[in-house]
Amino acid sequence: MNEELQIRTTSRDGAVVVSPVGEIDMSTSPQLRVALLQALQTTPSALVVNLSQVPSVDSSGVATFIEALRESQGRKIPFTLCSLAPRVRAVLEIARLDRVFAIADDVDQALEKKAS
């Protein structure tokens, strides 16, 4: 049932950038969860979720982000969401989580934040 989400994982300067492509909902969020937890297993210097190709996220996607954030915090790995579409940002605002996550405009800014 996870056939609609493509996920690209790349490394950059020791950080890992996970880039899902498609809508994140109850059907596709388990796939993203696996990708994020696998990325953290490699102990990167930072984990960035590039949401530039994600038009919408529902609460199951938000729950996936929260789980990855907690896991990152436990491993002391900076976790950043970047390139949020308006509907994705809106969900975080509705859930009042927009101040809980580190949010960057794009991957470059996310990696700069990690470095600073």
Binding site: D25, M26, S56, D58, S59, V62, P86, V91
Partner: protein
Amino acid sequence: MSIEAEHCAVGPGGPHLRVEVLSQPRYLAGLRELVLTISRRLGFGESAAGHIALAIDEALANVIRHGYEGQTDRPIFLAVSPIEENGQPAGIRICIEDHARQVDPSKIKSRDLEAVRPGGLGVHIIREIMDEVTYEPRSEKGMRVVMSKRITPGAAEGSGAPAPGGKSAS
């Protein structure tokens, strides 16, 4: 098995559209798209239409996750009605029914948002977005949730979320 819905039947004075779907997450994307398109056609702006589609996604996901506990072979009924005033669309009403176990509507609550943890956000999101949300047991089996949202005339189209405790407009 008879899967007759009580109030979701299409007809004069009732819903204009009715969908019957199995409780499979793979169909959520298509149902979101359906509701998004109808909301736009009724006069909601892009942002509000997206919010309505999200609210319906959350309600359907709650039926699958909590009502049917992940069973993928059970029926869900989705019915959509325009709210009309003076012959003009003034909002949207959406009814979702199921054959899942019945629960006391007073037990269906948003969780405490202060606790940052996965899960439990769906009811909060639905209530933040929609103007009215009513949960009730159906007479024989299953639950019904009826959600409505009105178009706010002249409200600027925004891209953000409804203000905390408030509602997004047109």
